[in-house]
Symmetry: C3
Subunit: 673 residues, 3 copies
Amino acid sequence: MINRKLPTIWYGGDYNPDQWPEAIWHEDMALFQKAGINIVTLPVFSWAKLQPSEDVYSFEWLDKLLDLIEQNGIYACLATSTAAQPAWMSRKYPEVLPVDIDGRKRSHGSRVNFCPNSETYRYYSTRLAEKLAERYGSHPALLIWHIGNEYGPHCYCDQCASAFRVWLQKKYQTIEEVNKQWNMSFWGHTVYDWEEIVPPTNLNGDNRCFQSMTLDYKRFMSDSILACYQGEYDAVKRITPELPVTTNIWGLFNGLDLHTWGKHMDVVSWDSYPQMNEPMCNVAMRHDYMRGLKDGQPFMLMEQTPSQQNWQPYNSLKRPGVMRLWSYQAVARGADTVMFFQLRRSFGACEKYHGAVIEHVGHEETRVFRECAQLGAELKELGDTLLDSRLESKVALLFDIDTWNAIEITSGPNVDLNYASQAQKYYKAFYDMNVGVDVISPLSDLSGYQLVVAPVFYMLKPGVAERVKSFVEQGGTFVTTFFSGIVNENDLVTLGGYPGELRGLLGIWVEEIDSLPPELKNRIIVETPFGHVTGEYACGMLCDLLHLEGATSLAVYGDDFYAGMPVLTENAYGKGKAYYVATDADERFISDLCASLCDQLGLAAPLRADSGIELTQRHKDGKTFTFVLNHNKQQASVHLNKRAYRDLLSRSEYAPESAVTLAAYGVMILEEV
Amino acid sequence: MINRKLPTIWYGGDYNPDQWPEAIWHEDMALFQKAGINIVTLPVFSWAKLQPSEDVYSFEWLDKLLDLIEQNGIYACLATSTAAQPAWMSRKYPEVLPVDIDGRKRSHGSRVNFCPNSETYRYYSTRLAEKLAERYGSHPALLIWHIGNEYGPHCYCDQCASAFRVWLQKKYQTIEEVNKQWNMSFWGHTVYDWEEIVPPTNLNGDNRCFQSMTLDYKRFMSDSILACYQGEYDAVKRITPELPVTTNIWGLFNGLDLHTWGKHMDVVSWDSYPQMNEPMCNVAMRHDYMRGLKDGQPFMLMEQTPSQQNWQPYNSLKRPGVMRLWSYQAVARGADTVMFFQLRRSFGACEKYHGAVIEHVGHEETRVFRECAQLGAELKELGDTLLDSRLESKVALLFDIDTWNAIEITSGPNVDLNYASQAQKYYKAFYDMNVGVDVISPLSDLSGYQLVVAPVFYMLKPGVAERVKSFVEQGGTFVTTFFSGIVNENDLVTLGGYPGELRGLLGIWVEEIDSLPPELKNRIIVETPFGHVTGEYACGMLCDLLHLEGATSLAVYGDDFYAGMPVLTENAYGKGKAYYVATDADERFISDLCASLCDQLGLAAPLRADSGIELTQRHKDGKTFTFVLNHNKQQASVHLNKRAYRDLLSRSEYAPESAVTLAAYGVMILEEV
Amino acid sequence: MINRKLPTIWYGGDYNPDQWPEAIWHEDMALFQKAGINIVTLPVFSWAKLQPSEDVYSFEWLDKLLDLIEQNGIYACLATSTAAQPAWMSRKYPEVLPVDIDGRKRSHGSRVNFCPNSETYRYYSTRLAEKLAERYGSHPALLIWHIGNEYGPHCYCDQCASAFRVWLQKKYQTIEEVNKQWNMSFWGHTVYDWEEIVPPTNLNGDNRCFQSMTLDYKRFMSDSILACYQGEYDAVKRITPELPVTTNIWGLFNGLDLHTWGKHMDVVSWDSYPQMNEPMCNVAMRHDYMRGLKDGQPFMLMEQTPSQQNWQPYNSLKRPGVMRLWSYQAVARGADTVMFFQLRRSFGACEKYHGAVIEHVGHEETRVFRECAQLGAELKELGDTLLDSRLESKVALLFDIDTWNAIEITSGPNVDLNYASQAQKYYKAFYDMNVGVDVISPLSDLSGYQLVVAPVFYMLKPGVAERVKSFVEQGGTFVTTFFSGIVNENDLVTLGGYPGELRGLLGIWVEEIDSLPPELKNRIIVETPFGHVTGEYACGMLCDLLHLEGATSLAVYGDDFYAGMPVLTENAYGKGKAYYVATDADERFISDLCASLCDQLGLAAPLRADSGIELTQRHKDGKTFTFVLNHNKQQASVHLNKRAYRDLLSRSEYAPESAVTLAAYGVMILEEV
């Protein structure tokens, strides 16, 4: 459990009482209780109120608040409030303000608008965290620390440039090594002095000329920002070693090296804001990715909106039942909390049109409040039943932030290549089959999996190829695609023939990589039917022209001068098999391929269900909880197996082999009877 | 009359003789006379010539010019020439150069490129106006002062930041009040010192984080620029108190608070540059808006092009007859002048492809010149007949610059919401029926109207709600729409339920606001036919989910989870009625609704006419002048009523009940015989 | 010959051994020999390696390299390596870094990222060139000097501003003349002191307000950059007067005044990177343009890719045979070299996905290498047969960089007007007929031509009109189009009626210019059939409304208020004829018109060929070499005339009147037997 003091699914969210008069606080308490809210996150943005000037701290209002929530049986996710420094600080110490990638010195305002290498920022943010820990470390309402908020933006100021040079010295020791690892002899960029290195910005012409440098700068920025977080982490941990610490992540975000960050968080938390009409498989993948940041440990859903967002182009209301459905989806994929931004809707500034549990009308007689209260009651009923239960997946999808960044900044071969989309395409195939997937780093332990999928396995860091080979050798099944094994961790090409270190494992040599515009397509012609993979499929974007070096060709290109060349290959390696998909295949091909592999490996959905129903399982103490989530706007059915089940939510029981119908957006959590 | 010295419709325009040798001036005079031109605007951009260095003024060339035009029977709209400061000033006093919203210090060049809070700019611009007044105040050719030119761009420099703080101190007195009125506790933006306030620019990340601050900055900028204008105004007025003063407005422009500006102008003038293929109702609305800036007083059409523009993507020629038609449209809607940019076409720099009365060929044997001369002759014939006549409208459309800005900078709920477009949609319904509309500020006197329409009445300033309630109480009819009554003048939400202060008047409570992307629509299903409003209509973008609190539902939504909820409501209030349109309805609905209201109130077109014919009436001394404007490319007819009419232009007389055919682009000004 | 030391078509390209260990150099030599490579360009980007600090030069590695290539029978195109200054220079002398058009000071990085008016840059770049010449001037491998690389970007820093003022003083002598030539009285921009002139940047609001100033700034920049080139040119020429000097041009590029640059190059060289799916006629036109920069003298194809590019959105492979075909196309149009970027593919930084003769796999067993080697063998066989042969064209297409720039920065009348596209449209008509065209400056000698075509002959520099008139007077045929004769060399309108100085020659007066958006079209109705020109055609964008002043109307507009006005006119002038196409006609019209003119003048393709076959002829010592290039993906045929031919490549002989079939992408070079 995240904290045994509250042994139930935490339910609540961001609360900004400092925007409201005290009289409202008491109304809030009454409403929170009606809604079943048991945790509030605060004070996320109150640094200016907590430290009105350099030498003055003011905590009395927060004392009162924490006591008030405690009196109302509510707990606190205590935020350190350091995501937006006070205006006096920006004014007195302008070096806290960042410089953007266009070289513009920023002015005070907005949030996460500080230089992560500012000593002033680090000193005062750490000091505030420390003071909060000293004052509230033993407050009975305190459950967890929340450091900063949605860390992210990068800075390119001179103090960052200096810190970058120090970071590089530590990493590479010599300037000669930098020149070598960045291939600085290209375009005559050889440097002879550390001071000659300048951050890659748009003032260089193109911040992506030297991908190796840009990647290192991104890593350095992730480390710099992490140091801000870590300063606060250490400060609160020193005083309250027993309390867990987290910070909320933006989702599938490439501005930070999240796998590293995960190691520094006691529990991962994140903010889920799907785009309008975004496929649910993408949301599911983000949950799985978050779960993977700490090896499957339950995570926190720190923010979602109860009704609508404000910063998207079109901010539709969540339809009745959808908020509940999506909340359970989070839990179904490993969340042990359901939390909102925001509990009461602001009346001014840029988030006043962001939904909240308590709307501008101020009372509970709203659809949104009613839905929140219904969910609150249900979660209360669930108690600790699900807490700490785990998902068990036999399929791993490898996903790597550095690879994402490297592909985003590459020059060539095709602007349409999007790493995250490629991962999502393969993820979707398993999602649609309701076969569970762990989304993990290529550096993770692969031994527990039967199938490892690595779409666009472009960058191979040291040891990764060996790890994958060993996985296959020992009987694992591995699938990768075009544009894999191309570069090392510094984005330098592995010479001697693509796919580099994977050439032996895959038994192929890729001689050339053709790049097609969206209007040009090729075809995949299956010569040796492979399970569901048969007939013809469309493909395009990138087409590897490959030669077999031991692998078997299952399908070939249908068109162009490389018609007849292998496009899907299988290679026996040790006790396992390695597959290569040489092109950007259509959805049907990926679906058929993944289905065939699942069949081969005996992987299947826990139950048979209509299309649009999502199924997952969490396991704990020998029990299995099967989540049944109907994402359809209409009712749909799930077909039970030979066991009898009970739904934890409705308490209904279902006989073996029965077909159970869920209402539109309906949810069940089935436990075997 | 604007000035009794020239008791006819002023006809002429911008004249830049300082770009030409003196020999050309004499040719110009001859051509002006052939064209019937009686007024020239000058010198609009001659500051550098009038003041070649800091201590030297040079007026001799202008003396000569004014004498020359006077000798030729032409009058002057004397411009103060302060829209573009001399290069020596920008060089010696760099603080006159502005800083843009991206924080970039501008360099010298272009026009209206000065900081409105520059003391240097204000000092020298006022001084030049004063010198011109001293020298030419009693010149017989002088009819009116023209201050600056197309004021507009905003500045974000440090001197503006300082002046902004002073402006805020005057408005709010205390820093606490600023924090409160801007909700600065949001995202921890509380300030403790005036110096901590920085202008909202793109260097803050998003200049629209704090809408209240951004709105205040826009108001402050409007005031700052107005102070530049006012300085010159006072200078010339001190010397020539009897002469009217104006400055030309860009049209429907949200960079200045035009209703305030109107109060400081003796006569409103504006520049009409319709976009290609822009519906004529939009142009008509701009004329009506300009007329409304000074309560219906006749205004000046200061600029229009005789043939083509240069700065639009596609600068088509005005087809034969169109320039004349559009000139009369201006008069039909309240203009007492018809003026051009420009009289002679420049031969160099960025406006050389902008049309002119005298084209590059330099003689009068051109289509454009002939059309100008024909119009000049007609206007001469009209003499003072129409001068000072007024339009009388029973319908008011409320339009507010602050609301426009607030909606433009809002974050959520729907990027497609465009305040001006919403106003145009309702305006069009009346335009198409040829029912006259005044476009006025919500702070105007409403007592003379039968029907007040306020599309997207989002922001209610102090007293406005009371004013509208009182209007309805006394028997008026009021129509407003979705997203109304939401915020106060500082863009802070009125808590307690939408539409805030209008809730009682409208008898409804809006619980939620759904936001739809363009591809999603809903339907309006009429349950209680209301005049022409019957059957079904399409709607979308924003859909209020509302509950009746006394109002009657006339129509409901047809789709989605709020199908059956009211979408058109009617509420009896005192002796009048208030209507609410809860969504962005299609054009047909708005047309049917407005037609029904007109029927109910007995409002109708002055005559029956074919589609595409615009009708207006100006009244004076008991006489009524009915303008008939055929915007069709083909001939079309107007059907007279039981009176006999004479056309002031053709002198033709028409029997009662006759159907009179106008040629394509034809115009008549009918007076009862 | 460019250099008699290597009397064959030079074959090789950019070689960057400094990115590789020495062991690889030896592999390179072996592979170069297998590929038939006889020239390498180097060191293009090695300044930092050649001059690791301000006082230290390091040439030993280059000594070794040049000796190595010489030992392997390979020659050097010796580059001066000055396109990217060392980082130490940018750091120690920040004034070498440029300021961009947005006023941003650039930081070190990328390439061609220096201020061309930096004394430091000029000093050290010239000094490096001199040192290279001193050291290698007599090296036996040295064939030619290659200065800098792809010169281009402009700078707007203060030192450029100062230099601009000096440049202007030299050009105009007095500030009054500047005011006059730039029409600075417009918008009150009159300046009184040279210091008041600031470069036209985006900080002025719009860098194109004063087109005359902007044009002069572009000319000044071209001159400034040329001075950098010239400094190096003079340095190497002083030491090696006998060696030719070049620099590689970007293609059809308007950032430099290429006709002036051509005069300063001993041989023109350029880099050919067609966009994907770009019509081959555009590539052909660029070759012809390059040939025209030095009056038909053979040029160098300095760079092309053997396989794919990296910096385009979609970097497709060149299909088998295409690299060979395009190489011969260059030769067919006047190239005496076939060179690549690059010989060995980089393993890091932004060009690692740019194709190369030696791919990342590092050996010769690739399709690309095989095709390169095949071509190398063929070129070796050709020996000096084709060297110094010339094309002979009877058609000239006038193309002018200043006109291009003037139209690009014009404000009005139509944003869709693209000068280069207009030239390409007319070029295509001749290309499709296989009638040779010289693409030359309007200031070139026209006496050798029968037909001169000047699409959008917008700007007439001093003497150009006279030159064209004299050409027609003496029997030439001249064709021009809408928007011609409008301005003088400073973009000031020629007053008195369009098309200005061409009015007499063309026998027309253009009264107005209508501008249409893409969705509006007009029609050309042929009243007097003119060869193939008959019936109706579509037209649009710009439509001149013109009156005949001696010319004959051949066709009229079909629509709009100017229906019936002439749109195609013919005017007899002296012994010749001048044609005017008053609008942007469709492709079919231009094709029919050009075909008719060719028929009239007896101009025809050298042979009859299927569509998609390109034919050119090079002549030398009484011999004619006919290039037959099949751009089709399928086989196609050429039909011989009454002569017998031999193909230099296959050595096949063909009987008179035979139809010879070429394979897809096939090439023949026919010589009469």
